[in-house]
């Protein structure tokens, strides 16, 4: 069966520090992968999606970037974090019939 792993679960980083969040999927090949951000008490905002290795599409301009170095690995990065980057980050992969399966999320606090 397919599983999705996301880490770390919680992260507290100072302003100006770098960021790397990792997401990996098991049990499937060439998945469509997604990064969402959820601000406190709000809905989900799509940040990036990828349909294959090295293929990244950005939905909103921001301080973040994404990479897909391997088929089942999706990384969210930043060179210098801002206070506004705080939030809950979710990785997802698109399964059959367009249903998305989400990772357990990363709670990022920038201080």
């Amino acid at each position: 069966s397919q599983t999705i792993h996301q880490w770390p679960a919680t992260l507290v980083q100072p302003v100006g520090s770098p960021l790397s969040l990792e997401c990996t999927v098991e049990g499937t090949s060439n998945p469509n992968l997604y990064w969402y951000r959820q601000a406190a008490g709000r809905g989900l905002q799509l940040l990036f999606y990828s349909v294959g290795i090295g293929q990244i599409s950005s939905e909103v301009p921001q301080n973040l970037s994404a990479s897909r170095p391997q088929d089942r690995q999706f990384i969210l990065s930043s060179k210098k974090l801002l206070l506004s980057d705080s939030g809950f980050y979710l990785c997802a992969w698109e399964g059959p019939n367009y249903g998305y399966t989400f990772g357990s999320g990363t709670r990022l606090t920038v201080v």
């Binding site: 809905g43 249903g99 998305y100 989400f102």
Partner: protein, 114 residues
């Protein structure tokens, strides 16, 4: 552009009773999929139920069912025999069958009271 609207920011229901969460969407497409996701306090996003737009029959998953009104672009979720574990944020979501990504509403916070 497609949009998803959940007009009820918060709702509450007594344990064992039935509650209905509302969702409307806007699209010019004929082929699409609709979903309800549950996000409990753990914040894990869990798929509750799925509806294909080409299917007239409303989807049902145990205590969860939907009322899909395609012409009205309405997709409500009914939770029967509410349980304390149903306490969560519920998100309605839409995806086109031809292109695009999953679009979420802003969510409804449901509290089940003992």
């Amino acid at each position: 552009a497609q949009t998803v609207t959940q007009s009820q920011p918060e709702m509450s229901v007594q344990e064992a009773e039935t509650v209905t969460l509302s969702c409307t969407y806007d699209t010019s497409e004929n082929n699409y999929y609709l979903f309800w996701y549950k996000q409990p306090p753990s914040r894990q996003m869990i798929l509750v139920i799925r509806q294909e737009a080409y299917k007239q029959q409303n989807a049902t998953e145990n205590r969860f069912s939907v009322n899909f009104q395609k012409a009205a672009k309405s997709f409500s979720l009914k939770i029967s025999d509410s349980q304390l574990g149903d306490t969560a944020m519920y998100f309605c979501a839409f995806i086109s069958g031809s292109q695009g990504n999953l679009i979420f509403g802003k969510g409804t916070k449901l509290s089940v009271k003992p």
